[in-house]
């Protein structure tokens, strides 16, 4: 709905955070969202237009704020994991891992090699799945519907892998402090290998649909340009930063969960536009596949959890004939564990950018404060810098290229 700025009540506008000069009739204000299909949830962007050129884009967020961080303060460390799935619901494993690594840093523990490898494998599976949703919805926004179905076909295989392991498709809470909830079931690695074998062909199909598609190239090349310096100044991270030519990947700079043992490279863009961000994410999916393959080949044997019954619950079979196991089980799920007083933050590379949980422990069994560093939240700050001086149609392309998830922005 277009509004002529002369007709508007200035006070009402100021209450909504817009400050425009009522006498200025050269600009027009257009409201985009929160129910716009291309805003990936409920994002509202107020655009100030001069003709068809955007002079200012203001994002309004908070429509799906549910107070997840507050809720986590009232749950024990083990139970609070489930909240993290719901933040960035497209990369649940990585959210779990971000929270888990911070708690493990507080506790000063590290799971055994098999646990680490399984975590890396799940995180990379999740990265591909998240990027596929990004690709599907990004293309759908721009009118390329076919890509959506091809991308979701592949994502379905990855969700099946998660389901086979954890029983659920999207909210697994499988990576927990101390290790994982369980080991891979029989045949899981074979299924994962099957996916890896078929994936390049599927990716070729997707790239055939887009790379030389003149409409796709016209709508993405030279659009949403942001320089590397601006990205860093605005706190942008992840593929959006790499699309601007900065080869920064937390898996390389500060490796966690044993990422230093894997061979992969960090793709970067050159022209800082929407197309380069697309190329970066496509290349990242191939790299994630490489990491999954290395995981399958070198998967070590042994336990997946730390050997500490005060942190990891005993296996179900022991509950039938061991009193200690029953006591541990009961104590762990009612009271939980008590990390020492301190604060911890571990940065991770999520599909969106730098993720990490800042956890303040006061020595009790609940996090005193658990704050997530939301990558989409920080990346969205750069939206106006990318859109200003461009057309409305480009906003759709730019929002898609940042790859936002509102569940994580609003928390």
């Amino acid at each position: 709905m277009a509004i002529d700025s002369r007709d508007l009540n200035t006070n009402a506008l100021q209450a909504q955070g817009m400050s425009i000069d009522p006498l200025d009739d050269t600009t027009m204000v257009i409201n985009m969202g929160p129910q716009h299909p291309s805003t990936h949830g409920v994002l509202r962007v107020v655009l100030e237009l001069d003709g068809e050129t955007i002079t200012r884009a203001t994002s309004h967020i908070g429509y799906v704020h549910t107070g997840i961080e507050k809720s986590m303060e009232y749950q024990t460390y083990l139970k609070a994991v489930t909240n993290t799935d719901r933040m960035d619901y497209l990369s649940a494993h990585i959210n779990n891992a971000a929270y888990t690594l911070s708690v493990e840093k507080l506790l000063g523990i590290e799971p055994p090699p098999r646990g680490q490898y399984l975590r890396v494998m799940l995180m990379e599976i999740q990265r591909i799945a998240s990027h596929l949703v990004w690709l599907a919805t990004h293309c759908l926004d721009m009118g390329a519907m076919t890509v959506f179905f091809y991308a979701f076909q592949q994502r379905e295989k990855l969700l099946n892998l998660t389901e086979m392991m954890s029983g659920v498709r999207m909210m697994p809470s499988w990576i927990v402090p101390g290790g994982l909830r369980g080991d891979a079931p029989d045949g899981w690695f074979e299924r994962a290998k099957e996916f890896c074998d078929g994936f390049p062909k599927a990716m070729e199909e997707l790239e055939d649909l887009l790379n030389n598609n003149p409409i796709w190239r016209d709508r993405t090349q030279g659009i949403g340009i942001i320089s590397a310096e601006d990205c860093i100044a605005l706190g942008v991270s992840g593929p959006t930063l790499r699309g601007s030519g900065v080869a920064h990947d937390i898996r390389k700079t500060t490796p966690y969960s044993g990422y230093e043992q894997f061979t992969f490279y960090v793709p970067t863009g050159e022209f800082c536009d929407v197309y380069d961000r697309y190329r970066v994410r496509m290349a990242e999916m191939y790299q994630s596949r490489e990491i999954i393959k290395q995981c399958i080949e070198n998967m070590p044997d042994g336990p997946i959890n730390v050997d500490d019954r005060k942190i990891v619950p005993p296996p179900r079979r022991e509950l039938d004939n061991s009193m200690e196991a029953v006591i541990h089980h009961f104590k762990l799920w009612t009271e939980g564990f008590h990390p020492p007083i301190g604060e911890a933050y571990v940065p991770l590379e999520s599909p969106k950018g730098e993720i990490g949980f800042y956890i303040v422990s006061d020595g009790t069994n609940r996090p005193y404060r658990a704050h997530m560093r939301p990558p989409s939240f920080m990346n969205l700050q750069a939206l106006s810098a990318m859109c200003e001086g461009r057309l409305i149609a480009d906003v759709v392309a730019v929002i898609g290229s940042i790859d936002i998830v509102l569940g994580e922005i609003d928390r």
Partner: protein
């Protein structure tokens, strides 16, 4: 340096260069240093936070070019003399540009105590533009205001919300469902809402509502 001091320095873990820089430039600013699991957290006075951030960003040994985030913590009565803490998470992001290497791949946490009676911190947005939204979030969730912030408004909660939800004395749950519609609702004044949908009618001004409401 005397030998006694040297042995003392050997026994202690090596002091981070950031702490030394603050000691040199702003000796009054330093309150406390917290070392935990390899991370350094420096508690500084809030008057100095902008200067220290600028020093950290421009100093060639530090090059903290990336503002990772900032967050608030409400300690209620746990801390002596203040209630809130604002934690700044700064990162020196390494990258190459035209053959020049920038950034050191370091991370540091700066903390600022904020008393309850005067919850104001100078904004760091002029040094780090990325701080704009995180500071708004702290303002929204804790009621800590940032002086000099270009656009200090609520970011996640509705504009007419009363209270700051992340404070420890703010209850979890129990609040009534709110449909303020910009004018009415419990968040603005004490208007009783009979059931979650009760305020729906009348807001939109449709006559259908009259028919359905009892």
């Amino acid at each position: 340096m005397s030998s006694a001091e040297e042995t003392n320095a050997d026994a202690q873990p090596q002091e981070r260069i950031e702490v030394t820089k603050i000691r040199e430039r702003y000796p009054d600013a330093l309150i406390d240093i917290d070392l935990f699991r390899g991370d350094t957290r420096i508690l500084v006075k809030r008057e100095f936070i902008v200067d220290i951030c600028r020093l950290f960003k421009t100093d060639s040994d530090l090059q903290y070019n990336f503002f990772s985030e900032c967050l608030g913590v409400d300690y209620l009565d746990a801390r002596e003399g203040y209630r809130f803490e604002v934690v700044y998470n700064l990162y020196s992001l390494p990258y190459d540009k035209n053959g020049v290497r920038y950034g050191k791949n370091h991370r540091i946490f700066l903390k600022v105590p904020v008393p309850e009676e005067d919850p104001t911190v100078p904004t760091v947005t002029e040094v780090y533009p990325a701080a704009e939204w995180p500071e708004r979030e702290i303002y929204d969730m804790f009621g800590v205001s940032f002086s000099g912030h270009p656009d200090l408004r609520r970011i996640l909660m509705p504009d007419d919300w009363v209270g700051h939800p992340q404070r420890k004395d703010y209850p979890l749950g129990g609040e009534r469902v709110q449909f303020p519609g910009g004018k009415l609702g419990p968040s603005v004044g004490e208007v009783p809402v009979q059931h979650p949908g009760a305020s729906w009618y009348g807001k939109t001004g449709d006559t259908q509502g009259e028919k359905h409401s009892r």
